[in-house]
Symmetry: C2
Subunit: 192 residues, 2 copies
Amino acid sequence: MRAATLTTKDKILQAAAEIAMEVGPVHLSLDAVARRAGLSKGGLLYTFPTKAKLLEALVEHHVAEFDESLRMQEARRNHKVNSVVQACIEVYRAEFVLNEPEPSGILAAIANDPSFIDPIRRYNKQLLDRMKENSEDPTMALIAFLTIEGLRSLKLLDMDTLTHEDQIAAIDGLRQLFAPCDPDKPSQPATG
Amino acid sequence: MRAATLTTKDKILQAAAEIAMEVGPVHLSLDAVARRAGLSKGGLLYTFPTKAKLLEALVEHHVAEFDESLRMQEARRNHKVNSVVQACIEVYRAEFVLNEPEPSGILAAIANDPSFIDPIRRYNKQLLDRMKENSEDPTMALIAFLTIEGLRSLKLLDMDTLTHEDQIAAIDGLRQLFAPCDPDKPSQPATG
DNA sequence: TTGACTTTACCGTCCGGACGGTACAGTAAA
DNA sequence: TTTACTGTACCGTCCGGACGGTAAAGTCAA
């Protein structure tokens, strides 16, 4: 487990996600992943003993990354009203601003076995509950959740339905809908 | 081409979509589809000469069905403001109320070849444009589009993140956000 | 209305290739 | 000496698709 350069595991995960997005999850072969990651098939099988383990890791990695970003955003908003929704918006916004192409590879996992989605299912359910609890208007929390889910799904499927400007407009629109309207915070925070 | 009972083509399409959702698009084999549809592999290949043609038909079918429903909903709302957004909401609502499980199979198509998504890409782009043009507030149109896209993606991935009540709440919430607030139409139409 | 022919809608078999996974010998750094 | 691989060779299975056949339904002239 090195830290300076990209871990072998990370290289493999990234390669797998890229290939899946390029040629489609069906044609995601271990041979191709190994080649793209710059190691042999033996080396790949050494790191991930089966294809299923690789796909599982893909999903785990995706959830873990999102959760980490979310908790960071939440931390700076001490459980105030709408803070979970706001944090979600900001996580998506940060991804978008950094222009992460995010070929997450979860599509590949699901395509191989629908049950790989279970962790995401659980995570999202829990996240939505927290959003609703923390919000003034549970229905608006739902809509916020779904809007972000919509944005994420478009990215997941590599759809350029929204232009860059549209995406900014959507994010800003969401932000305003859930902006803190307290007098002590007259406008949106410029924290990003 | 009979009309009384389900067409062979439709049976195949349905079988393919079902299998894809059950075992994952990767394991969608022509043999399995043929078996499920109640014919031989030869018969299947007679109807769809290649797997690609089958997947293409899956996507086409999906888009065509949605478009038909949408146009019907639009027809009863003569180009009034927000009518496109409203129509979209009602189409989703109708699907939901009828409890269509919609194993649409487009995931299978995309999984086999990402370029199969192109027709959907084009369709959605055009739809979003129409939504924005037809709406008072383009940003809110965006949010409506994304919310519905969120709902659709959850269904596409077979996610039960939202309970039945949540879905109703989300749809009703959307409806209210885009309800005609003209004096001549004081409340939501009960047309459903 | 019969016989000749075409079209439609399949069936069953087979083949080549791709893929997941195994086995194992070797190697270079730490 | 262990860890983290490389590289090669190979196995068994599955799958897409080609192909040859066939039974029934329709067409049409005599």
